[in-house]
Subunit: 111 residues, 3 copies
Amino acid sequence: MKMIFAVIRDKDSYAAIGALSEKNIGVTKLASSGGFLREGNTTLMIGVEDSRVEEVMGILRENCAKRTQIDVAAPYPIGGAPIWNYNYSTIQVEAGGATVFVLDVSDFKKL
Amino acid sequence: MKMIFAVIRDKDSYAAIGALSEKNIGVTKLASSGGFLREGNTTLMIGVEDSRVEEVMGILRENCAKRTQIDVAAPYPIGGAPIWNYNYSTIQVEAGGATVFVLDVSDFKKL
Amino acid sequence: MKMIFAVIRDKDSYAAIGALSEKNIGVTKLASSGGFLREGNTTLMIGVEDSRVEEVMGILRENCAKRTQIDVAAPYPIGGAPIWNYNYSTIQVEAGGATVFVLDVSDFKKL
Ligand code: NI
Ligand code: NI
Ligand code: NI
């Protein structure tokens, strides 16, 4: 048995918890802030069989890993719809990122 | 030394923390949600000597284990006292439940 | 790699997190309450290389250890400045205190 502590971005927590739960992987969300990741973060505490650690890493990689997102900055006239035929710029935004610690569990019980 | 992470129901946390503290067992309550147990849950972080792990398990079993409670659904007239001589039904309710992880502590200090 | 869980006083958390971050030591603050230390407490989750555990202990000792503080109870006239030539008493106050657990990390990844 392993206990995985994953510090992820708040924004990625909904998708990560959903994906883990769908595979019947037990996850508890701890309220956390600051630290490893500067923005708002969430700590997931995940208990799994040793044989499923790689599966959890894959799910976290898919839902929480650092990636570059392209945000479109389209100019809006006041009160109007975006002007798509206008000259606008895109911005590259860094998103996600996870710090993952895997610890050995010496005993596990469900009461 | 061992570090025990116990994910328990919110409703059982007051009794569990009280029972642990009474035995001078150090416990910290972490704010948590979702996951292992679907309803509102609380994570207890408990640091103990190896020799007291079974004692902690006993306290958690006594205060947090899954059990069936019988709730009485007695009909109330509007604004009045319950009508005990009325025909009412009882409901079996699942309560409690704890997921407990025991981890080895390699070093422990009080500063 | 080690995972350090330090239960410290709320009041010491700002200084401790600042001192750890300044040394590029990753720290996550978990919302916690009650337990090991009776007053409001905070749990820091700190991931570090084995070679830096003593450095972390030093930082925690410097910022969070139990100490005696002397508080001056100077009488204030209503709406006025403190009367320093008045007969006043000092109070010794117990401050700080940390309970630190060091756990082995079997695997560590940044995603
Ligand atoms: Ni195992
Ligand atoms: Ni031990
Ligand atoms: Ni190591």
